[in-house]
C-alpha cells in the first residue's frame, strides 16, 4: 500500500478525538486509574532488588520474609486493579462506540436511494455494527493497555534515574528505538488489514443475500451454485488473510526483536558494569526484571496489534462512510400551506447518472385534493415519479413544486411528514405488529394503531393482538397482508399527499374491493397519486396520466380520456377488457 499522506492520518486522529469527546471525563478517569496500577507494578522489582542486595551482603531470614510478604501484597493488588481497569475501560468504550453506532445508523439511513441500491444490507451491517465493534475492542482493550505501558515506561525511567542516570538514558534510548520500530511496521499493515476486512464483508454480504433468497435457491436446486460462489469468496479471504499475516509478522519481528535485544543487552551491560563495581548485582537484577516487565505489555500489544489493525482498517471505513454525503441536501425552510398539496412538475428530467434518461421534460399540474392515476408499461418511469415526489431523488433538471413551494425549499422532515408512499415492495422489520405499523414510534396510541389496521382491512391482525411478534422479512404475513400493513402505516400518519405505487398489486380481488372503499376515503381531503397497471384500481380517480418512455403522452380527466377515440388510455382499457373482464371498467360506456 502506498503511504497515506500525513494529512489523512491527522484527520483520522481528529475524527477519533471528536468521537471520544462526549465521554472525555470518563476517559480521563480511566487514565488516572491506569497510572496508579502501573506505578504499583514498578514496586515489585524494587523489593526484589533490595532482597538480592541484602542477600549478597548477608542478612537474616526474617528480613527477607518481611520483604517477600510486601512483594506478595503488591502482586495481588496489581491484579485486582487490572480487573477494575478492564471493567471501567469496557463500559467507557461501549458508551462511546454505541454513540458511534447510532450516529452511523442515522447517517446511513440519511444516504440516497442510489447508495442503498449499491450496497447490500449485509455489507452495511458489517460497516455499522462489525466495524464499530472493532473500534470498540480497540478502545476498550488496546488503548488501556497501551496507555498502561506508556505510564509504566515513564515510571521506570524515573526510578532508574534515581539509581543511576546513565541507566535511565540507556533505557530511554532503547524504548524509543523499540517504539519506533513497532510504529513503523504498524503503518504498513493497515492496507492489508483493510483488504482482509473488505473480503470478509463480501463473504458475509454474499451469505446474507443467499440466505434471504434461500427458498428460491432451494426450490431451484441451486445448492451447488451457491456453494461454488461461497468457495470462490472464501478463497479470496484466505488470500487476503495470508497477506495480512505477512504484514503482521513484519511488525511482530520488530517487537520481538526489540525484547530479545533488550535482554541480551541487559546481560552484557550488567556483566560490564558489575565487574567495574558501577552497579550492584541487585541493580543488574532490577534491570533484568524491568526488561521482562516491558516485554509483557509489549507482547500484549503484539497480541492486540491485530485488533489495532482491524480497528484501524475499520476506522478508515467508518470515516469514509461518514464522509459519503447525501446528494439530497436538506436546506429547505418554507412550509407549504396546510391541507391537501398541489403538485406541479415543470420541465422535470431525470437520469440515474448514466446516459439513459428515465424521465424527459415532464410538465404536469395536479390540483390540490385531486386524485390522479398514472399508467404506463413497466420501465416507463412511473416509479421514478413516485421517488421524486418523496424526494428520494432530486430531478436532474426542472422543478417539482408541492403546494406551490419547490420541493427543495421544503424541510425534508416536512416532506416526509406530509407525503406518504405505499411502495411496490413492502419491507417489514423483526418486531411486533405494532412496531411494524408505527416503525418503532412510541407516540401513537394502541387504539390509533388498531384503527389504522382496521381501515386497511387487517381486522385479523387486530384480533390476534398488536403486540404479537412478526418475523423479519415478513414471516407470518402473506404478501397481500404486507401490502395492507403498508396501507395501515399511511392511515396512521394522516398525510396531505398520498402516493400509491402498485400498492394493491398483490391483493386478491375480494380483499381489493374491501379496501377500495378505504382508499376512496383516504382520497378525500388529500391529493392522491396512484401508479397502477391494473386499470380496475383507477376506477375512482379524477384524472389519468399516461407515461411512455419517460414522457407524458396523455393527461386529462378520466371521463374524457376513456372516451377519446384513438386515445392511449382508451386503447389500454379496450385491451384489458379483451384480455380480462376483471380489469374492465364498469363505467365504460
Amino acid at each position: 500500500m502506498a503511504p497515506k499522506p500525513s494529512g489523512a492520518q491527522t484527520s483520522r486522529f481528529r475524527a477519533l478525538m471528536a468521537l471520544l469527546r462526549p465521554d472525555l471525563l470518563r476517559w480521563v478517569g480511566l487514565g488516572a486509574l491506569l497510572t496508579v496500577s502501573s506505578a504499583l507494578s514498578l514496586g515489585g522489582p524494587l523489593v526484589v532488588r533490595h532482597i538480592v542486595d541484602l542477600a549478597t551482603d548477608g542478612t537474616t531470614a526474617a528480613r527477607i520474609t518481611g520483604l517477600a510478604v510486601i512483594f506478595l501484597v503488591i502482586a495481588v493488588t496489581t491484579q485486582f486493579l487490572s480487573v477494575v481497569v478492564a471493567w471501567f475501560a469496557t463500559i467507557t468504550a461501549w458508551r462511546t462506540t454505541n454513540q458511534i453506532r447510532l450516529d452511523m445508523a442515522r447517517h446511513v439511513l440519511g444516504l440516497d436511494h442510489e447508495f442503498h441500491r449499491r450496497h447490500t444490507p449485509g455489507e452495511l451491517i458489517q460497516r455499522v455494527d462489525g466495524d464499530v465493534t472493532s473500534v470498540s475492542d480497540f478502545l476498550g482493550r488496546v488503548v488501556p493497555k497501551a496507555v498502561g505501558a506508556a505510564v509504566l515506561v515513564f515510571g521506570m525511567l524515573v526510578v532508574l534515574a534515581f539509581v543511576d542516570w546513565r541507566l535511565a538514558i540507556g533505557m530511554a534510548v532503547y524504548v524509543v528505538l523499540a517504539a519506533w520500530v513497532v510504529v513503523r511496521s504498524r503503518h504498513r499493515a493497515v492496507g492489508e488489514s483493510s483488504d482482509e476486512m473488505g473480503s470478509y464483508a463480501r463473504l458475509y454480504g454474499g451469505i446474507e443475500e443467499r440466505l434471504t433468497a434461500a427458498e428460491d435457491l432451494r426450490a431451484n436446486g441451486a445448492g451447488t451454485h451457491a456453494m461454488w460462489r461461497f468457495v470462490e469468496d472464501s478463497a479470496d479471504t484466505m488470500h487476503s488473510a495470508l497477506r495480512r499475516e505477512r504484514a503482521f509478522l513484519r511488525m511482530w519481528w520488530g517487537v520481538q526483536g526489540a525484547v530479545a535485544t533488550g535482554s541480551v543487552l541487559t546481560l552484557a551491560v550488567s556483566g560490564l558494569l558489575v565487574a567495574r563495581n558501577s552497579i550492584t548485582v541487585g541493580t543488574a537484577f532490577l534491570l533484568f526484571q524491568y526488561v521482562l516487565l516491558l516485554a509483557r505489555p509489549l507482547e500484549d500489544v503484539v497480541h492486540q496489534l491485530e485488533t489495532v489493525q482491524k480497528a484501524n482498517g475499520a476506522m478508515v471505513r467508518v470515516i469514509d462512510l461518514l464522509a459519503v454525503r447525501a446528494t439530497i441536501i436538506d436546506l429547505g425552510a418554507v412550509a407549504p400551506g396546510p391541507g391537501a398539496l398541489s403538485v406541479r412538475f415543470e420541465h422535470v428530467s431525470f437520469d440515474y447518472g448514466d446516459s439513459e434518461p428515465v424521465l424527459i421534460d415532464i410538465d404536469l399540474d395536479i390540483g390540490a385534493g385531486r386524485s390522479v392515476g398514472i399508467v404506463g408499461r413497466t420501465g416507463s418511469g412511473k416509479t421514478t415519479l413516485s421517488r421524486l415526489l418523496l424526494r428520494l431523488v432530486d430531478s436532474t433538471d426542472g422543478t417539482l413544486a408541492l403546494g406551490g413551494v419547490p420541493i427543495t425549499d421544503i424541510a425534508l422532515a416536512d416532506v416526509r411528514r406530509r407525503v406518504a408512499l405505499i411502495p411496490q415492495e413492502v419491507e417489514l422489520v423483526a418486531g411486533s405488529v405494532r412496531d411494524n405499523v408505527t416503525l418503532f414510534d412510541p407516540v401513537p396510541t394502541d387504539e390509533a394503531v388498531r384503527n389504522a389496521l382496521r381501515l386497511a382491512g387487517l381486522e385479523t391482525l387486530v384480533a390476534g393482538g398488536i403486540d404479537r411478534p412478526l418475523g423479519s422479512g415478513g414471516a407470518g404475513l402473506s404478501a397481500g397482508e404486507a401490502q395492507l400493513l403498508a396501507l395501515a402505516r399511511v392511515w396512521l400518519r394522516d398525510p396531505d399527499l398520498v402516493v400509491l405505487d402498485e400498492a394493491t398489486a398483490r391483493v386478491d380481488p375480494l380483499t381489493e374491493s374491501r379496501i377500495e372503499a378505504g382508499v376512496r376515503e383516504l382520497m378525500s381531503g388529500r391529493t392522491t397519486v396512484i401508479i397502477a397497471h391494473r386499470l380496475s384500481t383507477l376506477r375512482h380517480v379524477d384524472e389519468i396520466v399516461v407515461v411512455d418512455h419517460g414522457r407524458v403522452v396523455e393527461h386529462g380527466d378520466r371521463s374524457v380520456l376513456s372516451e377519446l377515440t384513438n386515445g392511449r388510455f382508451r386503447h389500454l382499457l379496450e385491451l384489458a377488457l379483451d384480455m380480462d373482464p376483471a380489469d374492465a371498467d364498469p363505467v365504460l360506456p
Partner: protein, 562 residues
C-alpha cells in the same frame, strides 16, 4: 457429540496445515527453556565478575532468540491457512444445509438472514478460537514439563511451591465456568439483536425514511445497544478476572519462592543465578494456566456456538456442523466449476395431492387438500387473502418447513418421499410470490450454474424479458446489484420467471406471477407458457387465468370449496 470430538474433527479438516503449524508452535515454546537456563548462568557469571563468560552467554542467548522467532514466522503463516480452512469448513456446512433442496443434508431454514450472519461470523470464530487455544495449551504443556524438570533439579522445594498458584488458577476457572457460559450466551443474544435490527433498518432504509421513522427506529436501536453494553461489560469483567488470576500467578509464585527460600537466600545458598532462572521461567510458566483458563472459557463459548449453529444443519446435529467436505481454497488449489447435481428427469404423466394438511403453530394452514392433474394442463388456485394459497404450494413442494405437514404427493402415481429433493428442475420449478435475486449477472441468476446460451435465450423469450435484457449495456452479463435492485419490480419478476423456465421443467408452480406485471406483458407471458405446452399450477385471481384453466381450485379458510 462431545466438545472434544467436535473440536478434533474441525482440527483434522486440513491435517497437514494443522500439524505443521502445531509443530512450529511446540518448537517455539521449547526455546524459552534454553533461554532461561542461559540467563541463570549469565547472572552467576555476573556475580563472579567473569565478564568474558557473560559475553559468550549473551551471544548464545541472541542465537537462541533468533531461532525461536524463525520458527514462529513459518508457523504463523501455516497456521493462518489452518485457521481459514477450519472456519470455512464450518461455514460451508451451515450454508450447504441452508441451500440444499431436500435430501439428507438439508437443514431448517433460518428466520432473519441478518441475524443468521452472526452464526457465520461470530460462532465460527468461537469454534476456531477453541482449537487455537488447544494448540497453545499443548505447547504450554511441553514447556511446563521441560521447565519443571530443570527447576526441580535445581531446587525441588522452591519448584514444588509453584504448584500452589497454578492449582489456584485451575480452581477459580472451574467455579466461574457456568457463569462464563451464561454471560457469553446473553452477550451473543444481545449482539444478534443489534445486528438483526441494524440489518432490518438497512434493508428497509427507504421505508424508514419515507415514513419519517428515523428517530423512533434509532431510539429502538439505542435500547438494543445499551442492553448489549451491559452484557458485554459483564462478559469482559469475568473474562478479565480469570486472566488476572492466571497472570497474577507468576508474581505470586515468585513471592512464594522468596518466602520458602528466605533462609537459603539469607545464607547465600539460593544465589542470584537461581533467582534469575526462576524469574525467567515464571513469566512463561504462567502461560499454561492462563491458556488453560482461556481454553476453559473458550470451551464454553465453543459449546454455546455449536448449540446455536446446529439448528441450521440437518437433524439439529452438531456433528453435521463439522462434517468433512472438500474445500479447495488454499492459494494453489484448482477450483473447477462443479456441475450442479440434479435429480433425473422423470416425464410427468399425472400429478396428485392426497389429504394434504399443513398446520402452523398458530393454527393457520391448509386442511385435507385433494386434487390431481394431467400433463399439459393448467391448474389455477384462487381464494381470498390469507386462505392458504401460498402455504398449499409450499406444502406440496416440501418447503413448508415450520409447519406440521401430513398427506402425500404422487408423481405418475408414485408416492414422493422427499418432495423438496425431487421437485426441483428438471422435474419441477417454483416461482415465489416475491422472488429473490442475488448480486450477480442476469445469466448467473437465471442459470444458477454453468450457462447454456441457447437455453438462456429460450428462457428469456418465454419469460417475455428478452427485450429488456437486450437493452442493457452488457446484455445477459449485466450485474443487477444487491438483491437485484438495479432491475425494476417487473423485470425482477420476469428474470425470476426465466429462472424457473430455463430447465424446461415438467411442472411449473407459480405463486401469483402476474401481480407485478402490466396487462400487455402478462398477456404475452400466458400465451408463451401455453404455446410451450407446459404443465402449470398457478395462483391467480384473474379471469384471464380462469378462462384458460383446465381446473380451478378455490381455497377458503384453508379448505378447498367447490
Amino acid at each position: 457429540m462431545p466438545v472434544w470430538r467436535l473440536a478434533w474433527r474441525v482440527s483434522q479438516h486440513e491435517p497437514k496445515s494443522f500439524w505443521v503449524g502445531w509443530s512450529c508452535f511446540v518448537l517455539f515454546f521449547t526455546f524459552p527453556v534454553a533461554n532461561g537456563w542461559l540467563l541463570g548462568r549469565g547472572f552467576d557469571a555476573i556475580s563472579r565478575h567473569d565478564t568474558g563468560h557473560v559475553y559468550v552467554l549473551a551471544v548464545l542467548l541472541a542465537l537462541s532468540e533468533a531461532l525461536r522467532m524463525a520458527s514462529i514466522h513459518f508457523g504463523a503463516l501455516i497456521w493462518t491457512q489452518a485457521w481459514v480452512h477450519m472456519q470455512t469448513l464450518v461455514r460451508s456446512n451451515l450454508l450447504a444445509a441452508q441451500m440444499a433442496s431436500g435430501g439428507p443434508e438439508a437443514g431448517q431454514p433460518v428466520g432473519s438472514a441478518g441475524e443468521a450472519v452472526t452464526h457465520f461470523r461470530d460462532d465460527t470464530e468461537d469454534v476456531t478460537m477453541f482449537v487455537d487455544g488447544m494448540v497453545d495449551v499443548s505447547a504450554g504443556v511441553v514447556f511446563t514439563v521441560l521447565a519443571g524438570f530443570v527447576l526441580g533439579s535445581v531446587d525441588s522445594n522452591a519448584a514444588l511451591v509453584l504448584v500452589v498458584p497454578l492449582i489456584g488458577v485451575a480452581l477459580a476457572t472451574r467455579t466461574l465456568d457456568s457463569r462464563i457460559k451464561r454471560y457469553r450466551a446473553d452477550d451473543r443474544l444481545a449482539a444478534a439483536a443489534v445486528s438483526g435490527l441494524v440489518g432490518d433498518l438497512m434493508a428497509s432504509a427507504t421505508t424508514i425514511k419515507v415514513n419519517n421513522a428515523v428517530d423512533p427506529s434509532l431510539s429502538k436501536l439505542r435500547d438494543f445497544v445499551d442492553r448489549r453494553r451491559y452484557t458485554a461489560v459483564r462478559d469482559r469483567v469475568l473474562d478479565e478476572g480469570v486472566q488476572a488470576f492466571s497472570q497474577g500467578a507468576a508474581d505470586i509464585g515468585l513471592g512464594l519462592v522468596l518466602l520458602v527460600s528466605a533462609g537459603a537466600l539469607a545464607s547465600g545458598a539460593f544465589d542470584v543465578g537461581r533467582l534469575a532462572l526462576f524469574t525467567a521461567y515464571l513469566g512463561w510458566l504462567s502461560f499454561l494456566p492462563r491458556m488453560v483458563g482461556r481454553v476453559l472459557a473458550r470451551r464454553k463459548q465453543f459449546s454455546v456456538a455449536m448449540d446455536r449453529m446446529r439448528f441450521l444443519v440437518a437433524d439439529d446435529l452438531s456433528a453435521n456442523v463439522v462434517a468433512p467436505r472438500s474445500l479447495p481454497i488454499a492459494p494453489r488449489d484448482v477450483r473447477p466449476r462443479l456441475v450442479p447435481i440434479r435429480p433425473d428427469r422423470i416425464p410427468l404423466q399425472s400429478f396428485a395431492v392426497r389429504d394434504l394438511t399443513a398446520v402452523f403453530g398458530s393454527g393457520a394452514g391448509v386442511h385435507d387438500i385433494d386434487f390431481e392433474l394431467r400433463r399439459g394442463t393448467f391448474t389455477v388456485i384462487t381464494g381470498p387473502i390469507g386462505s392458504g394459497k401460498t402455504t398449499l404450494l409450499r406444502a406440496l413442494l416440501g418447503l413448508a418447513h415450520h409447519a406440521d405437514v401430513r398427506g402425500e404427493v404422487l408423481w405418475n402415481d408414485r408416492h414422493l418421499l422427499d418432495r423438496a429433493a425431487f421437485l426441483v428442475p428438471p422435474n419441477c420449478a417454483f416461482l415465489p410470490q416475491v422472488p429473490q435475486l442475488v448480486s450477480d449477472s442476469v445469466a448467473e441468476n437465471i442459470a444458477l450454474g454453468p450457462v447454456d446460451d441457447e437455453r438462456l435465450r429460450i428462457a428469456l423469450e418465454l419469460a417475455a424479458v428478452s427485450d429488456d435484457i437486450a437493452a442493457m449495456p452488457d446484455g445477459t452479463a449485466t450485474t443487477i446489484g444487491p438483491r437485484g435492485l438495479r432491475l425494476s419490480g417487473g423485470q425482477r419478476q420476469r428474470v425470476a420467471t426465466a429462472r424457473a423456465l430455463i430447465h424446461a421443467p415438467e411442472l411449473v408452480v407459480l405463486d401469483d406471477l402476474s401481480s407485478a406485471l402490466d396487462v400487455e406483458t402478462e398477456l404475452e407471458l400466458w400465451s408463451n407458457l401455453a404455446a410451450a405446452g407446459m404443465t402449470v399450477i398457478a395462483v391467480s385471481h384473474r379471469a384471464v387465468a380462469f378462462e384458460r384453466a383446465d381446473q380451478i381450485l378455490c381455497l377458503d379458510n384453508g379448505r378447498l370449496s367447490v
